[in-house]
């Protein structure tokens, strides 16, 4: 399941829901991305996530389908927020469930790496001075490249 929303989410509740009522799941892996209070030397006061309504949901659904095709997942979840967030707040949650840990862990890493380079979101950082658009990182591109076939 994928969700794009403005409101905060409860990480524990989301993960619990993934396996609620099921006894066939042996492993749940998760990744939570948070707003950091600094970027390099500079303090970050807030972060605003912009998205492309329609295409963002479409790409997230494709990314999730790709993970489902590559690993034997019993359940998966991507929740990504947009709008303005303060340091410490969650931006994104990726969770995967499988019978065994390897598939859950690998699929979870794939989902976040793939999402970072494929899903249309843009971060605007508020610092002490003028707000600035965060630039794409080469390291994110490399992280995604290792999953390319």
């Amino acid at each position: 399941m994928i969700r794009v929303q403005e409101s905060p989410f409860d990480v524990g509740a989301e993960i619990a829901t993934l396996s609620a009522g099921r006894t066939d799941i042996g492993a749940v892996a998760s990744f939570v991305g948070l707003v950091r209070d600094h970027a390099g030397e500079q303090a970050t006061l807030a972060m605003t996530l912009e998205h492309y309504p329609g295409m963002t949901e479409k790409k997230l659904a494709e990314i999730e389908a790709e993970a489902q095709a590559r690993w034997p997942l019993q359940a998966s979840l991507i929740v990504h927020r947009y709008g303005r967030m303060l340091p410490g707040e969650p931006i994104v949650l990726v969770a995967t469930a499988s019978q065994h840990r390897a598939a859950a862990l690998e699929a979870c890493a794939f989902l976040i790496d793939w999402l970072k380079t494929e899903a249309p979101f843009w971060k605007l950082e508020e610092t002490g001075s003028a707000p600035r658009w965060v630039e794409a990182r080469e390291t994110d591109e490399r992280a995604a490249a290792r999953w390319r076939r």
């Binding site: 931006i91 994104v92 976040i112 970072k116 380079t117 249309p120 979101f121 843009w122 605007l124 794409a136």
Partner: protein, 83 residues
């Protein structure tokens, strides 16, 4: 045809979306970018740096050679930075 602009590219064009009717010879994403650049100097400036502008046609990533048609939803934006 509808064109959408996101993130800092929007401040370069001064608009988030516009309905346009480009000339008939504009049939590819690349040609559309040239045409948009002729209307928005800020877009032309951004286009000068390679790899800075990404394109999508009808909500799928597109390359300069990909076709565009009347009625399409085309979007231009910088590399994504979510997650």
């Amino acid at each position: 045809m509808k064109i959408l602009y996101f993130a800092w590219l929007r401040s370069k064009t001064g608009t988030a979306r516009e309905e346009v009717a480009p000339p008939a010879e504009v049939t590819t994403v690349g040609a559309l970018m040239e045409w948009v650049a002729s209307r928005h100097p800020g877009f032309a400036e951004a286009m000068a740096a390679p790899g800075v502008i990404r394109a999508a046609v009808n909500q799928d990533y597109a390359q300069p050679d990909d076709p565009v048609r009347p009625g399409d939803e085309v979007a231009f934006f910088p590399p994504v930075t979510g997650g």
